[in-house]
Structures are given as structure tokens and as C-alpha cells.
Subunit: 350 residues, 2 copies
Amino acid sequence: MTERLTLALDAMGGDHAPAMVVRGAEIARTRYPQVDFIFFGRESEISPLLDRMKKLKAVSRIVHTDEAVSSDDRPSVALRNRRSSSMRMALDSVKEGAAKATISAGNTGALMAMAKFVLKTLPGVDRPAIASFFPTLRGETVMLDLGANVQCDARNLVQFTVMGNAFARSVLGIKEPTYGLLNVGSEELKGHEILHEARQELSGLNLPGRFHGFVEGDDITKGTVDVVVTDGFTGNVALKTAEGTAKLYTEFLRGTFRSSLLASIGYLLARPAMRKLLKRVDPRRYNGAVFLGLNGITVKSHGGTDALGFAHAIGVAVDLARNGCLETMGRDFKAVDRSTPDEPAQAAAV
Amino acid sequence: MTERLTLALDAMGGDHAPAMVVRGAEIARTRYPQVDFIFFGRESEISPLLDRMKKLKAVSRIVHTDEAVSSDDRPSVALRNRRSSSMRMALDSVKEGAAKATISAGNTGALMAMAKFVLKTLPGVDRPAIASFFPTLRGETVMLDLGANVQCDARNLVQFTVMGNAFARSVLGIKEPTYGLLNVGSEELKGHEILHEARQELSGLNLPGRFHGFVEGDDITKGTVDVVVTDGFTGNVALKTAEGTAKLYTEFLRGTFRSSLLASIGYLLARPAMRKLLKRVDPRRYNGAVFLGLNGITVKSHGGTDALGFAHAIGVAVDLARNGCLETMGRDFKAVDRSTPDEPAQAAAV
């Protein structure tokens, strides 16, 4: 029998909180019967919602707080002034061991700042990164950083690679993941110096799997590698460009089926298959970005998501916890540390 | 009656050259009857192809050369050692006034290096940029730079905006284009300092249309602005990510229609409409990236394209020439120059 798992939910984060959070937990409950939930937020709002879901109520408890992080709060302000917020208390509960992971659809910057402060980074990690899955022709690819670090040096990129590699192994179950650095492709465009430094460092590291070197934007959806590593600026633009393109295509497709009577009939016949397609490209299926490199599991849901999307984010947290992603990552960073040639010298100098 | 227009074609550039180039010109001929072509390349290969297309032959001439730029040639090497190449001679013919534009499917870096050397940049332009159209929910958006400049400062981005704005007005015919700088969206992620500098400068410039400030990756396909400005690294990744996502979606769609008998029948009924859709997202329709900021028109076709794609690149060159894009851009840079407050002081100091 699987051990029970407790998750801390920021019930006040997201455009449709707390109703969306509670309904999301209800969907997740049916998928993960071994999970217990702690809802952090306004009891007067959460309690009536739970009253309508007896089975969920049976595996849940509420920790009341009136304070919530707003979407306009700057990270530094949230860190200083929102110490009793639902978001902060959820993170604190993970730190204290009462829960195994935090899931929040609230303010990304505030969540990252608080998570860093409360959970701290893993030994060997300078900066955490945001990671998520992308659908590809071959399955799924992990990409990071998706926006935590707008500017990165080679060392950051190398650390992101170690994190992404551990993530792919533990959560996707790929024993020997392939991994690459996102760059521009043409021969003459050699990309930033930083990328070349990172490439050189990664060639010397003995990470599990195989280093593919540089990959290009279209390699993400081709599934050329299991892990795509980039800085948070490029990653964020690539993620949103991909989302935008998928939406555009769906709109074009809708227009196509409305363009003639035959096409409309065709659509009716193909509808069950089309629904499968739309489900496959449904952004809610890819909801749940993971903050990697921290000493605790934090999953960020899209703020505008619905219960189904939030349930998916919960599922990502369950996967991370069940598969020991943090433990794998911790071991990898220790191994990398030992394999760095100049490390003993540095240690001796200190 | 429209004046006749002469175009210089690098007949040896691209994976399927010269046959693809000649067949592309034949397609373009039927669309643009006022165009004359000069084919630069191996006469022994081009001539037999033209012999099979009498009407094309009647508006074409061949300038023979045995030398060609290879796809492995580094830009600096191509610049020094490929002075008699088909690519270089095509550019020279534009410089000398024998042709109005160059179209090449050859090595991008070599083409850019040679075009800069032969044609020079427009007054006011430090570096040329690569621009192309993107399909959007509202029509088409111009994006630049797509890969010419991996690292850009604020001044570069401002100049790219002036170029993109002139391009949207002259080629897309938008009198008052909206334009924005590509950035990461979340409040807490403020993007590079360079972007903030560029934003400030653009707010002070009096370009036609309206400055929208920052836009995000998904704004590209939403069509939030008519012109999206970014550095060549981010632009290249965004372009390729969008292409990759569209391909993935098409593959998913194919799979959907093969997934059941009903879906297959549905596809048969919807086929004419589906063909329209696939045409709409066909990357060949968006083939033809423009080198903006040079004293002459240069259009780069995808190296792997076919005749239809190459014909589209020719069409882009025709549009640029017919709509006086260079002249508009030249006037705009003069106006910007005058409107820069510190310019008179600088001029006085010199």
C-alpha cells in the first residue's frame, strides 16, 4: 500500500480562488486517493465549499488566515508584509514537515521569493528555475528555466541541466535522458559566449544520459532531447510563443469546420476524435510549473486556470513527491560537486 | 501600366538549386508578369531548365559563374573568397542598378555578410536585421530581428523598430502601425535593462502609429501589435518554436483523422476546408525573410524550400520594391535623426 501524502494548497491564489482550488482538489482526490489536503485561507469561504464535497472534506483540513498575497504585490513586499498569507503559510507547512508540497495559483514572483526564503536552495544550487513539460512528437520534454531568471550565466545553465536531468529521470522515468542547450541554429550565429561556456562545462560533466549539445527552437516540439535548458527570458518567450501558436491553430481549425456545410458534417463525424485532439493540446494538461532547485516541492499553477487545470498541477506535485525527485537531485548535485576538478582546491583555500 | 522590375536570383543557393529556383521563378512569373529575372549561376545547369519554360525564358537572362557559396562557408570566408559566386554577383547587380532586389536560398550568414559589404547600411542604421511575417488571429504581424544579431543594445532595438514600422506601412499598407518590444510578462520579471532603455527611447520618438510598450510571446500570434521587435537570439528561438508547434499540431491533427473510421469519413467531407487550413499554416506561405536596414533589397528564402516557397520569397521582394519600402525607411531615419534631442549638440561638437 502506498503511504499517505499531505499537500498544502494555497486556497486564495488564482483568479477563481478559492472555489477553483477546492474543486480542483476534488478532481485530484478521485485520481489520488492516498492524498490528504490542507487548505490555507479564509475558513468562511472554504468551509461551505468543502461541505458540499463530503469525500474531499474527509481527507482535508483548513488552516485559517485572512491574509492573502495579491497579484499586484511585488515579491519583496510580499516577502516582508505577507507573513501570515495563505501562500506563505502553505510554504511554512512544507518547511515544518506537515506537508510534502505546496501548490499555488497565486502571484509567481511572490511565490518564488517566498519559496526561496522559506525552503532555501539545495546544496549546489545558486538559483532555482521554473520547469514544465512540453508535448512533443515523441512524448514529453522538460524545459527550464521558464522565467525565474531573466539573465543567467554558464554556471546557472549547468545547474539547470542537472536539475532538469534529475527531473526527467525521476518524474518522466527516463533512465538515460538526452539533454541540450537552446541556441540559435544557423552555422554563422554562434549564440552567446555564455552558451559556449555552459556547453564546454556540460561536456565534461558525467550526468546520466547523453548531452546533445545545442538544440534549436523547433527541436522543443520535435522531442529531439528530453531536457531543454535555457535562460528564463528565452524560455518564457518560447513557452508563450508555443501556447499562442497552438491557440491560433485551434482558432484556424474552428474556422475551417465552419467554412462549409460539408466541413461541418465532417466535423460532426470526426468529433470524438477531434475532442481527443483538443484534449491533447489543452493547455490545462500542461498546467503546473515546478520550482526546481529548492529544498521542498513547490508547484505553480496558471492563475487563470480552472479546476481541471489545478487538479493537473496537484498531480505534478504528487509525481514529484512519489518519485523522490528532490532526493535524486540532491544526490546528483553531490556527485557533480565531487566531479568538479577545481573543487578540492577551493575547499582547501577556504 | 506598371513599370517592369528586374530581380537578381541566386540560382545556386538552396538544397534543391538550381531546379527549385527556376521553377520558383516560373510560378512567380505567372503572378508578376512585369518581372524580369537574372539567374546567376552555372549556365550549363540553368539553361536546359529554362529551355523547358519558354515564357520564363523570354523574361530571363543568365549570368554565368562556376563559383557558389556552400552552406558550410563561414561568412568571413565567403566574403573574402567567394567574390565571383552566384550570391555575390546577384548582390553586385543590385548595387550597380542592374536589378532591384536579390533573392537567395543560400547560406544566411554569408548572404548577410556580403549584403552588408556590398549594399551598405542605410544612414542611421548600425546593424541590419532579419524580418518576416507571422500569421495571427487578426492578420499578419512583422517580427524582427529573427537572427542577424544575437546580442543587441537599446539603440539596435530602437533602429529595428523604425525599420519594422516602415516595413509595416509600406508593405502591409498599415498607415498607423502599432509596435511593441518582446519581453517576459509577469510583473516581477522585468526583463533586461536594455529593454527598459529601448522602451524609454521609443516613448520619446514620434514614429507613425502607436507604441504599445512591452508584449509577450503569446502576443505575437494574437496580433496584439503589427510590429514585434526583439533581439536576434530571442526572435530566432520564437520563430522556430512557432514553426515547431505548428508542425506538431498538424501531426496531431493527421493522427486524429486516422484514429477511427468515422473520423476518416469526416476528414473526407471536410477535406476541401482542411486543405485551406493546411495552406493557411503552410510555412512556405511565410517563406522569404527580409534583410532590413540595407541600401538595397535582399530576401532570404529557406534553404530547404521548394519552388512554391521560393516563389513566395520572390513575391516578398516584389512587394518591397513596388511599395518603396527603402525610401520610406530612409525618410523615417532622417526624421528620427532630426527628432533626437542631443543630435544638434553632437553635430556641433563634430
